[in-house]
Symmetry: none
Subunit: 203 residues, 4 copies
DNA sequence: GATGAATGAGCATTCATTCAT
DNA sequence: CATGAATGAATGCTCATTCAT
């Protein structure tokens, strides 16, 4: 008769057992991405996502316990993609090359679907979603690379956080302005990143 | 009657001619700031703002044509405050000193009310509000200062945009992490800014 | 963006300040009674109540924080009516007369709107509503009267509870069977009540 | 597809011919009992019952045409159990002993699983289920016993109904209050029952 | 038969906005 | 001008039921 409150989990409700549902889940997540891109947070609602995915609202809720779970799933999908690409940086010989690769990966990731990337960055900051999205891996990766690129930096953790902030800030703004020239943007980001490192205690 | 109007003016409905209305308008704007800070976009609604301001919802609509107008007014208020402080940079002798002052102003502004600043940065990016908020002045100011600090820079417009992005990116992230040490943060932002300039074509 | 859980209060949201709203509140409560009577718990929903009351769903929620609050308000209304009538029993000279009056009041109350009375009895038992409905007054009243009618009863509290149960049981069942003869029903309830008292330790 | 069917048969869809289905049906009915006990009507839904029974929702619908059929089956199960016990009363020598046995059976039945018994009493009253549950047998049994215990009672049918109401009323209320002392409760019920009979025309 | 993915009508609730007082 | 009662479109979410596999 009344609404059960309860603490909302953001994990998918069931692991899709059959391949039919795997496809459903993927299509819902992609639909969420598209709705977010085209309508923003304003127009991002579960009915719209279900419609765009071509499934019923009931199916959506079969796999996602609520609206926010869609965002979380989307963040995880994009993070995983980015992490996969970014990990290649670890195979680079020099720290500088690794950092350069990381910057390239960031730029590619962010300008691939700029609006989506920007909105997800915002969503990641929402208090309700904190902790749901594991940023640990990313941070560790960047820290490792910074450690290699600037071994004598006094505070690699802070440096890693700053670098991420610089890259995201520049690339988001570029995306917002509609920039498309990846190479030029990458050059400028490198200037900021290496400039920061050399002046804040790095090599 | 319905919830989705189509096109809205965001300017206050009437120029507050008498001081009583001026005070009312100001109290509504500050209430909007507080609600936004404490409840986020989630809990930001006109009734809550009116309640916090101690005015009736009817009065709120007397002065603001709609919800978004509150955000716009808030952005304008904060921008004006920032611009006023930042303008002092123009009185500095050297370009370097001017740029340093600008960075300091940014850090101060952002860490004064970090949550509010961050949320307004997000709101500024909303397509619906673009153009309502004049960023021209700010851009021009930064451009002027960059021009003085890095006179030989090949593309001062882009540099200005990048610098703003760097500063906002770093300072927002710092605010999000709860950093409070203004001086240390300022030092790191300078490293990024001057590092960027020196490596992207400046002095 | 997400649903705020929070502990639901069942008290009306605002004390109706103007007489306009007093009428609205009363019409909503009576509409709730009618919907409950004619549709049962199955068909008891906020939209139906608002429609029957001739108000918008928004108005309903302006005065009642949720569906259950309607039921609570209804229980309170009926309890108050009953209590007012039943209190007259205290003015009776003899304990016997007082108890007889109480029985009469119960029968009248229950057969006035039998379906409604029965459904509210059920609702009162719902764990979620326990404690929201103060039964203390009623219990105290019955205990007082039992104390006067059977002064030597070893356990007046239990006796009061049993009497209430006997009366409600018999009268509900009668209402369910469609009985309308108040006098005959009253006679039988008296038989049970006084029979119980005389055999369980009373006078 | 939709949620509100119009007219439904409440009998199990197939007579469970093989013992495997018999076991399945029984486990579903017991699961229904447990869900009802622990979640109340609020949380009583077909998916929960199927889950608790360890069968798929599809299988549940194989054996029961709908949600209400589960309740009906449950009522029938409990009624049969009670009837079986209560029938023993007919073997008693005296009418008084028979009636006492009947009361004992009622108390036992009701306090065995008090929440379940109470909820089923409520369900039995739902107009939609009336007639689906044969109360005739029970009534006849009680009538017979009343006829023997109070042979000169002017209206044995009404007396039987009243006695049932008294017993159910008292025992339900006791269960609701959490009473566990069967003997004391039985004593008080006897007081009410025999008191009623002696004062309403019986022996 | 059994399974569980899919469906969608239905319901609770919120909130921007209007307008009679 | 101020008030706050009233409105109702919009949205999150549930759950009985069906049916392809």
């Amino acid at each position: 008769m009344s609404q059960r409150p309860s603490h909302k989990p953001y994990r998918p409700r069931k692991a899709p057992a059959q391949s039919r549902s795997e496809a459903t889940v993927a299509s819902i997540v992609e639909a969420a991405a598209q709705v977010l891109e085209s309508e923003g947070f304003e127009g991002f609602n579960t009915n719209a996502v279900a419609r765009r995915a071509g499934v019923s609202i009931g199916s959506l809720y079969q796999y996602f316990p609520g609206k926010d779970a869609l965002i979380v799933a989307l963040i995880r999908r994009e993070s995983a993609r980015f992490y996969e690409d970014a990990s290649v940086a670890l195979t680079k010989r020099s720290g500088k090359a690794a950092l350069e690769y990381l910057i390239g990966a960031s730029v590619r990731q962010q300008l691939q679907r700029p609006m989506l990337a920007r909105l997800l960055d915002i969503a990641e900051g929402r208090p309700a979603l904190r902790g749901e999205v594991a940023k640990g891996e990313m941070d560790a990766l960047v820290e490792t690379i910074v450690g290699r690129a600037a071994p004598r930096h006094p505070n690699p953790e802070v440096a890693a956080a700053d670098l991420l902030a610089i890259v995201k800030g520049m690339v988001d703004a570029a995306g917002e302005r509609g920039e498309r020239d990846l190479d030029d943007l990458e050059r400028r980001v490198r200037a900021a990143v290496f400039g920061y490192l050399s002046r804040s205690g790095g090599a």
